[in-house]
Assembly symmetry: C2
Homo-oligomer: 145 residues x 2
DNA sequence: CTTGTAACTGATAACTGCTAGCATTAGGAA
DNA sequence: TTCCTAATGCTAGCAGTTATCAGTTACAAG
């Protein structure tokens, strides 16, 4: 199904370069559609399919990563090194966590003999400052409930 | 967008009961389609939409939980209490982790002032024993590469 | 520089997983 | 039993993503 594939793409096309740039220079975690919008400012004729294909290839090559939290659409991250994210339950925004929590995986690893563990992912969910403020206000208005 | 809704469903229909049973009595983490297949053995005329609707309601009511790791389709879990999962990169199977890793969220929380944190989710990825064996075999055959 | 060729692209059709709309059914309080 | 309306089955439709394929292009070799 998937071998230890570390080959990645072989040719550096114009499109691929622009997509890589776009990913690298955004601190947000754009969806494929957002990446499409960004690269179209440089290459107006690029196809959405090309964006999808390259996001997959770059992810497989370890040059980007795919975030699957919070349902579709998928979001992409130019930082390949795994790090922790926080997602807002209200607006769906995903932010990086600067300070990674300390995780002791040893007890889990012991329970997982037989498995080959390749990585882990810690996601925090909650409400971003903006949405938190809105909710606080709404709750105050409904306080009779 | 979403208020502190804790109401949940109000009527216990035949369909809902069967879906809850199905979720409770499976240790796997079935997709909506798999739940559909299970409940159809008891209620052949049930609609797929009903399955989806009830999975959402049960999740909102805190009687089940939704797993969003590994891309579509979503998987559901009859255990509502949050716990850690391991997902196989090859076959997509999701297993429970019996021993939860210890996570120190305090450094992260400090970086997240302004946010309202409601939860977190730790997922481990890798290869299940079955797929690991297959990969090991394949690697041996290709070892000239 | 030319050539060969396989990786790549753009356009678009098709697919998957899911949800909305609506007429009909049935849980359960009175 | 009656009534109200939550819930259902059916199905059309949607968003996001992937497959297909003819044409294009990066780039190694000559």
């Amino acid at each position: 199904m998937d071998k230890p594939n570390t080959t990645g793409p072989t040719r550096m096309t114009r499109q691929r370069k622009v997509i890589m740039e776009a990913l690298k220079h955004t601190t947000s975690h754009p969806t494929a559609d957002e990446v499409y919008a960004i690269v179209r400012t440089k290459l107006p004729n690029i196809s959405l399919a090309t964006v999808y294909r390259n996001l997959v290839l770059l992810t497989e090559a370890g040059l980007a990563s795919k975030l699957e939290m919070g349902g579709p659409p998928k979001r992409f991250d130019g930082r390949a090194a795994t790090h922790c994210h926080i997602r807002c339950l209200s607006c769906g925004k995903v932010d990086d966590l600067t300070a990674d929590p300390a995780i002791d995986l040893r007890p889990a690893m012991r329970a997982l003999s037989g498995y080959e563990v390749t990585g882990h992912r810690l996601d925090i969910v909650g409400y971003c400052p903006r949405c938190k403020a809105q909710r606080d206000k709404a709750y105050k208005n409904n306080s009779g409930r």
